[in-house]
Amino acid sequence: MSLPAGFEASTGCDGDNSSCELSDNLDILRRSPVFSGAPMEVLKLFALFAGRMTFGKGDFIIRQGEPADRAFLILRGEVAVFEEYKNKQFNLQALGEMAFFGELTLLARFNWFFSVQARSDVELISLNRKSFQKVITKFPDHQYMLTERIVQLRIKRLENQMHFLLDNIRDDVLQGNASTSPQTMIA
């Protein structure tokens, strides 16, 4: 279990065949579109602070209305994303491996506006806002880049959701009645 002198595994573990959680997390983060462009030193720290979580089928990972404090990356399994509005449940999306959700918590404080439930046994990596902010303040040069990536991801997903909803909306609502004032539409 000893390394040759001067050798330092690039992932930061001892050189034995077993990898450590740090290196595993690092690999996963590198493959994620949000983090892939970040330099190694930043990713290593994210990997250090990221935690693993497991949920059984049917467990709630996120509940609408509760304070949001961490983002999630799915390692294996499937989840369903839905929103409760006026006592009705609206299924918004299904997410699978390598999907990244809750990304906005890394940037701002808010309460979850949707719920996420496990559709199968699920394993996730989570990174909370505090850790993210602490690391990113040490690397101000990369702060903008990461923020941009996160916003882009959000917009892409928002687009997908909007398209899904618009596909299913009744035409008359979509065209808008002449008598309906703009205010009630946007609310």
Partner: protein, 853 residues
């Protein structure tokens, strides 16, 4: 007569008269035994020595010593009795004064600082107590003693006696002049001390401002001025005090001078016997004592008089309503409140309330609203009889509020302040405060407080249960309290046993002796228990010979050193740029203060991994022992090492811990099976293994129930666990026990361990526990979060509808619809009254208020 109007001598003349009379008797008898030796002295010289009568010598000497002894004994008992008497009377003064102070109106406490009151009650009255004991007896006896000796002296020789005594009138003239100056200074001294007390009190009360502004120099300046003034005053006081004593002793010395001169002259001329001269001298000296005592008495009397007067003057205000009415029992009300033309005017002619007339029927729920400064809080305080209205009428059930006594009010009216005061003590003590006071006021005879049984229910009603459960679970219960409850707790541990464990596996890793634990240190994995002695604390293990030998014999030493090396190198490489932020270091096993040492070690290891000395080896071992696999992600522990450690654990427990593994396994199984858990015995009393029968007294209740490690992520919290455990305990009906324990949580000085919301819930529960007929709330839910506030509102709306009159000063108008009637105040006047729909339709002041927010 009000206590503050009583003169000092009132106490002396009316208390413990029998004891004082007895004391006087003893003193008078003692006087005889003081004069007697003088006569014996004379006879020894004149009769025994002159006549060379040895028997007479022995007789007179014997009588002399006997009398002296008795006199001393009597003096001793007199002193003790005097002090005893003084203290007894002091207790009464203090008790009545405190009672008086507590009943003084609120305005007094606005203008008087706590330091003054504290000083008055404690230090200033001490001098009075010392004086009182001898206040009557000392002057009487001193005068009598003085007279006795004086008469004796005159009896011996008229001329000589008169001359000797003639000196004293000089002092009677001189001394009071000095004393007057002393008195004046003394008064000033008291004032300065009080001010100084206040400064100290303020600095301590506002200590967060002091720390925040680092205003230590400023505060030193503030108090420095006082120190100097006290110093100067005391210096002057001493000069006067000892000046008086000096004059006294100076005048005294003149006496013997005259005596020797004139008496000696007479003796030379044979007109005076030697014995008589000696006796005269003795008498002269003896006369000095009572005179000195009289002077001292005079000084002490002046001192005590001044202090007493200052204390009493400070509190010479008419108190508020007394506690118990005379000639009738306290009223109980149904809750009708009526005001007619109520005015409240403060100094300067400012009308805080102007012509308030309202009617509230019993059981109505009324909201008082208005802009800030409208007087709504003042009105609430007046109805609660905390302020007194200036004129107009306020009637409760037809009785004028001004004429009601405190006992009438306390039982029927409950007041919840906006910033409630929480006393230092436990939650239970605070909860019982109102109910217990009412109980004591009504002189009830039952052994248990009526609110004992309803306490937990009330805690639940105000939404305080979760907090109390949390306190209970986070309590480290002292062993005496705990031992009888251990079986219950172990049962709880079983309650969250195997079936429930699934819910918890996400958050807890239990102490399973047959598994390698990833959420605790390697040290715990090997030792799997706790030692009482320091030798086996983690930081001491690298130097513990027993442990080291054990590791080596298990072939574990080298792998641990290697693990330590990897940890050192990887952690230092990863975190060396972030040492200044402790947050980052949490992800690794190295602490902030050790980092430079390990960084240095890492550098050396990078060049040559195999060169390190003994101290280095200790450090590497320490790091390996601190390693927590699930948290310290920068290094992985190989599976075969995990296995090895597990095997080592078994051997450690048997060889060093001296615990039978079979027993431990059995108990683990019985937890799983839900059977009765047998107790484990360890031959080594120092070692407590992590076997399920053991209750670990140094850990919190939660730790003991859960019996495992919490899988926190680095910035995680444990509230999730508490929720899960509470749910499980509720299913097992064990929550009440936990809540009872939680009630014994100590809230800290003035409740500073509670959040603002928790204090409000506590205050609300406190008042509701005495079941008042009229509930007055002054923005009592302002500090609560939305959910709690709704809950409390709901509770009041449902449980107290048709039962209690509620007057609530509210700031948030969204709860206004819940009330029967809304009264709107502006600038001290009522501008609108009506129900919510009525006032909204009116589109008047209230409507404006709602839309403004």
């Amino acid at each position: 007569m009000q206590i503050t109007k009583r003169p000092l001598f009132y106490w002396i003349l009316t208390r413990y008269r029998l004891l004082q009379a007895f004391l006087l008797l003893v003193i008078i008898v003692g006087i005889f035994f003081k004069v007697f030796p003088l006569e014996m002295q004379k006879r020894v010289i004149n009769t025994a020595i002159r006549l060379k009568d040895q028997e007479a010598l022995f007789l007179y000497c014997g009588l002399y010593i006997g009398a002296v002894l008795i006199a001393s004994l009597m003096k001793f008992s007199i002193n003790v009795m005097q002090r005893y008497l003084g203290q007894k009377i002091l207790v009464e003064i203090r008790r009545e004064l405190y009672n008086h102070i507590l009943q003084l109106p609120l305005q007094f406490f606005r203008t008087t600082q706590p330091g003054t009151v504290i000083n008055a009650m404690t230090a200033e009255l001490n001098a009075v107590g010392a004086f009182i004991g001898g206040a009557l007896t000392v002057p009487i006896t001193s005068v009598l003693t003085f007279l006795a000796f004086a008469v004796y002296m005159v009896f011996l020789d008229l001329k000589l006696g008169l001359i000797s005594l003639g000196i004293y009138p000089i002092e009677i003239f001189l001394i009071p002049i000095l004393q007057k100056r002393y008195n004046k200074l003394n008064k000033t001294r008291v004032r300065v001390l009080r001010s100084m007390s206040n400064v100290v009190n303020e600095a301590v009360s506002g200590i967060h401002e002091v720390h925040g502004n680092a205003s230590y120099r400023l505060e030193e300046e503030k108090i420095g001025g006082f120190f100097n003034r006290i110093f100067r005053i005391m210096s002057k006081l001493f000069v006067y005090k000892f000046g008086i004593k000096f004059i006294n002793s100076l005048v005294q010395s003149i006496g013997p001078f005259i005596l020797f001169l004139y008496g000696g002259y007479l003796a030379i001329n044979g007109q005076f016997t030697l014995g008589a001269l000696v006796a005269f001298l003795s008498a002269y000296e003896k006369v000095y004592d009572p005179w000195k005592e009289l002077i001292e008495y005079y000084q002490e009397y002046q001192d005590a008089k001044v202090r007493y007067a200052q204390v009493m003057d400070s509190f010479d205000i008419k108190p508020g309503p007394a506690l118990l009415p005379e000639g009738r029992r306290p009223y109980t009300f149904s809750g009708d409140i009526d005001t007619q033309g109520l005015n409240y005017v403060i100094s300067g002619g400012v009308k805080l309330l102007d012509n308030i007339s309202l009617q509230i029927k019993a059981h109505e729920h009324v909201a008082l609203v208005g802009f800030s400064g409208s007087g709504k809080s003042t009105l609430a305080l007046i109805i609660g009889q905390i302020y007194a209205y200036t004129d107009g009428h306020a009637l409760i059930d037809g009785h004028e509020l001004k004429d009601l006594y405190k006992a009438d009010i306390s039982g029927s009216i409950g007041f919840v302040a906006q910033h409630p005061f929480i006393f230092t003590g436990t939650i239970r003590e605070n909860l019982q405060y109102s109910c217990k006071s009412d109980f004591l006021n009504k002189d009830r005879k039952e052994s248990m407080l009526p609110c004992e049984t309803t306490m937990l229910e009330m805690v639940d009603n105000v939404g305080f249960s979760e907090d109390v459960i949390r306190f209970g679970l986070n309590f480290v219960i002292p062993p005496e309290r705990c031992k009888p409850l251990v079986p219950v707790f172990l049962k709880m541990r079983q309650a969250i046993g195997p079936e429930k464990a699934d819910e918890l596996t996400n958050v807890i890793e239990s102490y399973d002796i047959n598994r390698f634990l990833r959420h605790t240190t390697i040290c715990n994995n090997i030792i799997f228990g706790e030692f009482n002695s320091d030798a086996f604390r983690l930081q001491n293990l690298p130097t513990n010979k027993i442990f080291l030998d054990f590791l080596k014999s298990e072939d574990l030493y080298d792998p641990m050193i290697t693990l330590g090396k990897n940890l050192t190198i990887q952690t230092v490489t990863l975190l060396k740029d972030f040492v200044d932020d402790p947050f980052f270091l949490l992800a690794g096993p190295i602490t902030t203060d050790q980092f430079t040492v390990y960084a240095d070690l890492a550098d050396r290891l990078k060049t040559d991994r195999d060169t390190f000395d003994q101290t280095d080896a200790e450090k590497l071992l320490a790091l390996a022992l601190r390693y927590i696999p699930a948290r310290h992600k920068m290094v992985a522990i190989p599976t075969d090492l995990e296995e090895k450690i597990l095997q080592t654990r078994y051997r450690f427990m048997e060889e060093i811990g001296k615990v039978s593994l079979a027993e431990c396994a059995v108990t683990a199984q019985s937890v799983v099976d839900g059977d009765d858990i047998p107790m484990i015995s360890s031959d080594n009393n120092e070692f407590i293994p992590y076997c399920p029968t053991q209750y670990r007294f140094q850990n919190t209740l939660l730790d003991n129930i859960v019996y495992g490690n919490i899988k926190t992520t680095l910035a995680g919290d444990t509230s999730n666990i508490v929720d899960i455990v509470s749910k499980l305990l509720r299913e097992e009906n064990l929550l009440e026990e936990i809540m009872e324990i939680g009630l014994d949580f100590h809230v800290g000085s003035k409740g500073d361990r509670l959040s603002g919301g928790q204090k409000q819930k506590l205050a609300l529960a406190r008042v509701l526990l005495k079941d008042p007929k009229i509930l007055i709330m002054d923005e009592a839910t302002a500090g609560l979060d939305n959910a709690s506030q709704s809950r409390v509102q709901e509770m009041i709306r449902t449980k107290h509808r048709g039962k209690t009159t509620v007057i609530a000063v509210i700031h948030r108008l969204d709860i206004a619809p819940d009330f029967d009637k809304i009264i709107v105040l502006r600038a001290g006047r009522i501008v609108e009254t009506g129900s919510y729909p009525e006032l909204m339709a009116k589109k008047g002041v209230f409507y404006e208020l709602t839309s403004g927010i």
